[in-house]
Symmetry: C2
Subunit: 340 residues, 2 copies
DNA sequence: TTGAAAGCGCTAACAT
DNA sequence: ATGTTAGCGCTTTCAA
């Protein structure tokens, strides 16, 4: 059961083609110095025998597993799927395959992540947030010389090959837009404090508010965890008071949707009585009502390019140390000028 | 780059522990007949050298790759993530790793799927819908003797080890509930016609309607694709007429949410003017407003158990041919008695 | 341009 | 209870 019988090997192909196994190997790996007549004989034998090289044998001598890891911790399904799509897009047609390695918390399990990657025997790893911002993960990776690339890192901006976007300026842009609508009573729901993008986005919001001379009220800054439920709860605390804000900036879309749901339950109409913004342009921001004004984070593109970078590194090809993708403000139906 | 230098091998461990490599192998694989003194010496050498067995070498002799494939095609991120969670849950702590193999269309790419699995060199594969209902996939898999298990299959009910639920009776249950509320003008939005669960759910709806003597109007049966957008469009066609239905049964949650969104745009209130039901209990059904009345499909549990079954098969352990999980009707806020 | 031999790191089979 | 030998299927020398 489960153990393949005697499967067809390179020797069988060699025998059928009437050549040595090395010639078969040359043909299969597109090496030069093979007469095209032989090449054809070999290819014919390969197809007629339905030969598939044994990856373990290849890997053993080449010291490779042709496995790429993707380490993530994220409560948002649409974000995770985008991440995977980007990596798989680039891997399609290559011999490399993708191993997904979700973890409940990078922060808590930082020390276990690299051992896990070793156990999984990956050749390299793509690190989206928050793993890309974990000093421990980066150090342990460097210690064992495992190739990696970082997606949208915030911390340690010079370390390792990376594909980035500017979280702070994206956050600033969306806050500027809300301020431009006339809002002055603006609350903020932060993301998971262990994710560094949280502080980065905070910087952006703060810059926009202070540039417009809007005083930042500390009791209007709520903690969240990037989850729908945390957005709901934060919204309840924010809206359950007489002097409630006219706008809430949530650090991702899931929380923003949580805010709109809570507002509805409390009889507060979005956007006429309350403006709400998200972050990411994840699927949920598009398919709930009102559609959430947000900023498009190019997750697919960044992960695809980070995977490309990783392949270049592992193959020893020349590559840039850093790539960059642009965010984009998406004005939708959850924002409007403040009441009266 | 990317190529590990001379990494520590079983020979190094043997040398340090002062034993033969076979003894190290015995210790590492928990084989009997090793004195505990030696065992400790070996373990000590292993940790002090930070030794990790080479999976390629192990795999070469054991004829295994310790890779499990998960083939899916699904437009719903929350469904996909549930699927993956189930498989990973069971694989955690095992030496097996998960390779994700999304495909744009099982129907269109049926012939490529098994070659893809061979190229990925997986030891076995978990097949959720719709791959589990593809005759071609099942036949090709059998032809190369690759172990597989099926999640929630509809077609070929006797073929292969499988973990199921009863789509038809779940559909019947939710339709019965809507009828029980007093509805008689009931429309249906079908799922992707290449997914067999679509016809299965149709059977359930039809049984409920005919048992209650509700005439099924053919022009109230709309085609959908399991996507949010397709639900929206179908809803537009259904609601954009004077004799519109008082209830719409959508074959998954994404489409049901699409219906509620379209209803809102058209000024039709859910649930007072229109009742809407979904299917799956995916995250989206819980976090949009109104929350969708739906039926819980135990995706996580089914996939976890299918993975468990697969491991048993591959290890040659005894195992059941079929497992079963129960669905559960979840009455939420998108349904109410018909107007007047 | 082709082939023979050696060996990648491990375990199965067979000693002892 | 422990060690020796012989591969697993491939690619990398190196020789012809």
């Amino acid at each position: 059961m489960g153990i393949k019988k005697q499967s067809v090997t390179i020797m069988d192909v060699a025998r059928v083609a009437g050549v040595s196994s090395k010639t078969v190997s040359r043909v299969l790996n597109n090496e030069p110095h093979v007469k095209s007549a032989l090449r054809e004989r070999v290819m014919h034998a390969v197809t007629s025998l339905n030969y598939h090289p044994n990856v373990n044998a290849q890997g053993l001598v080449r010291r490779r597993t042709y496995l790429i890891g993707l380490v993530y911790e994220n409560p948002s399904p649409s974000y995770v799927v985008e991440l995977q799509r980007g990596a798989i897009e680039r891997l399609t047609g290559e011999r490399y395959r993708l191993i997904v390695l979700p973890t409940s918390s990078v922060e808590e399990n930082a020390e276990q992540i690299v051992p896990l990657l070793r156990a999984a025997a990956v050749d390299g790893v793509v690190l989206p947030p928050p793993a890309c911002d974990s000093r421990i993960v980066l150090e342990r990776l460097a210690a064992i010389h495992m190739p990696f690339t970082r997606v949208a890192p915030v911390l340690f901006p010079q370390i390792g090959p990376r594909v980035g976007m500017d979280d702070a300026s994206a956050a600033r842009e969306i806050a500027d837009y809300v301020i431009g609508l006339g809002h002055r009573d603006i609350a903020i729901i932060k993301g998971d404090p262990t994710h560094r993008s949280t502080s980065e986005r905070m910087r952006g919001y703060a810059a926009a508010l202070s540039a417009a001379d809007v005083r930042v009220r500390l009791d209007w800054i709520e903690d969240g965890l990037f989850t729908f439920a945390s957005g709901q709860e934060a919204a309840r605390r924010l809206l359950d008071r007489p002097d409630r804000p006219t706008a809430i900036l949530a650090m991702n879309d899931d929380m923003a949707v949580g805010v709109t749901m809570m507002a509805r339950e409390m009889g507060i109409e979005v956007p006429t009585e309350l403006s709400v913004t998200g972050f990411d342009d994840s699927e949920i921001s598009r398919i709930t009502w009102p559609r959430i004004t947000t900023v498009h984070q190019p997750v697919f593109e960044m992960t695809r390019d980070a995977t490309d970078l990783l392949l270049a590194i592992m193959d020893g090809r020349p590559h840039p140390e850093e790539l960059h993708h642009e965010h984009k403000l998406l004005i939708r139906q959850s924002t409007a000028p403040p009441p009266r």
